[in-house]
């Protein structure tokens, strides 16, 4: 049934495309979205609405050759920065030990994950953090000695918590998930990750 529907979709696309040599970029984007909507099925917590992009996702879905204008980047950053909600109790530093577990955990939000269990942040997938963990990725910069190098002033605390909450408030189209903005981590989890980065006792700062 679904394959028939998707076949029809691609036939419709082909009928349009046959007329001209190639599609415009915007046409192609629209057709790709149609194609994807017909080619994915909902499973577990992953519904089809995950293919509905917000503005940042849409603007950031471009090859590196299509660099965003300064104005567009600034707009993405401004809007994302405004989305950050700081904890009502004003405390930004939680428990670094819990933060380490969150940094190691790559589960959460996948169609096979239990939505009742807390998500991880999987920081080590992309960042070096502590010296002990040799299995770390390099998509993001090394965060080893993050707090030792920057100190723990209130400004640094707010920047760090904010960056975890919504990275695109600081860098448009950052590869880093917007953990608070998109509801991946809870407030307490973000405090714990902030502690992992800033607490002098954390292995990150040893």
């Amino acid at each position: 049934m679904n394959s028939r529907r998707s076949t029809r979709a691609i036939l419709a696309i082909a009928a349009v495309a046959a007329g001209c040599a190639s599609m415009s970029d915007q046409e192609a984007s629209q057709k790709a979205l149609q194609l994807m909507k017909a080619s994915f099925s909902e499973r577990g917590q992953a519904k089809l609405d995950r293919l509905d992009q917000d503005e940042a996702q849409r603007l950031c879905s471009k090859p590196p050759s299509h660099e965003l204008s300064k104005e567009t980047s600034a707009r993405i950053e401004k809007e994302n920065l405004a989305s950050i909600r700081y904890p009502a109790d004003g405390k930004l530093i939680g428990d670094w030990k819990s933060g380490e577990r969150i940094a190691q955990n790559g589960q959460g939000k996948q169609f096979n994950d239990d939505p009742k269990r807390p998500s991880g942040a999987n920081c080590y997938a992309c960042h070096q953090l502590s010296r002990q963990e040799i299995s770390f990725g390099t998509i993001g910069p090394s965060l080893y000695q993050y707090g030792k190098l920057r100190g723990t002033s209130e400004a640094i605390q707010r920047y760090t918590y904010g960056k975890v909450y919504n990275s695109q408030g600081f860098t448009a189209c950052s590869n880093m998930p917007r953990f608070g903005h998109n509801g991946i981590l809870t407030e307490q989890q973000m405090k714990d990750v902030t502690a992992l980065l800033l607490d002098p006792e954390s292995p990150v700062n040893k």
């Binding site: 190691q104 955990n105 790559g106 589960q107 959460g108 996948q110 994950d113 991880g120 999987n122 080590y124 997938a125 040799i134 299995s135």
Partner: protein, 157 residues
């Protein structure tokens, strides 16, 4: 039962008799398994010490004659290549044990005369651990060990 088998292996009589029976067509090659035992006590040993005791190898000695080839770091514990070579004359068996596995004894190979004392296989490791190669030669036990670190790989999900 185990003891009589060990005696048979010591004299070489068991294997020789079996070969004769196979050659005579009385026993088919597949039936060779019927002669084989499985050392349940050793495989069920929960610590290195328990497994070694059940193998009759309470106090093996470290030896450069046992060469163990394992990766220093394994990308995944599900498959860790292990090769063991014995340079000790009269090698009768080669055994692989993984100290921190829930059941340390992984595999044991009987090496008849004419077979090179050099075997290669792949094991599972639950976590980073020392891997031991135990060699029995002329009735005595020798060993070498090497640590293998198991890393967390992939995207983590």
């Amino acid at each position: 039962m185990n003891r009589s088998r060990r005696n048979a292996l010591k004299t070489g009589g068991g294997a020789g008799l079996l070969a004769m029976l196979i050659a005579a067509g009385i026993v088919r090659p597949g039936d060779a398994l019927a002669q084989q035992q499985w050392n349940q006590a050793a495989f069920n040993g929960k610590t290195l010490r328990e497994a070694l005791q059940a193998l009759g190898a309470q106090s093996p000695v470290a030896s450069d004659g046992v060469v163990i080839k394992v990766p220093e770091i394994a990308e995944n514990g599900a498959v860790v290549p292990v090769a063991v070579e014995s340079r000790i004359a009269g090698t009768q068996s080669i055994t692989v044990l993984i100290e921190k596995n829930p059941l340390p004894l992984a595999a044991s190979f009987e090496i008849p005369a004419g077979t090179e004392p050099n075997v290669s296989t792949r094991v599972k490791m639950g976590e980073s651990s020392d891997v031991y190669a135990l060699v029995k030669a002329d009735g005595k036990f020798f060993f070498a060990k090497k640590e293998v670190k198991i890393t967390i790989g992939g995207c983590g999900g």
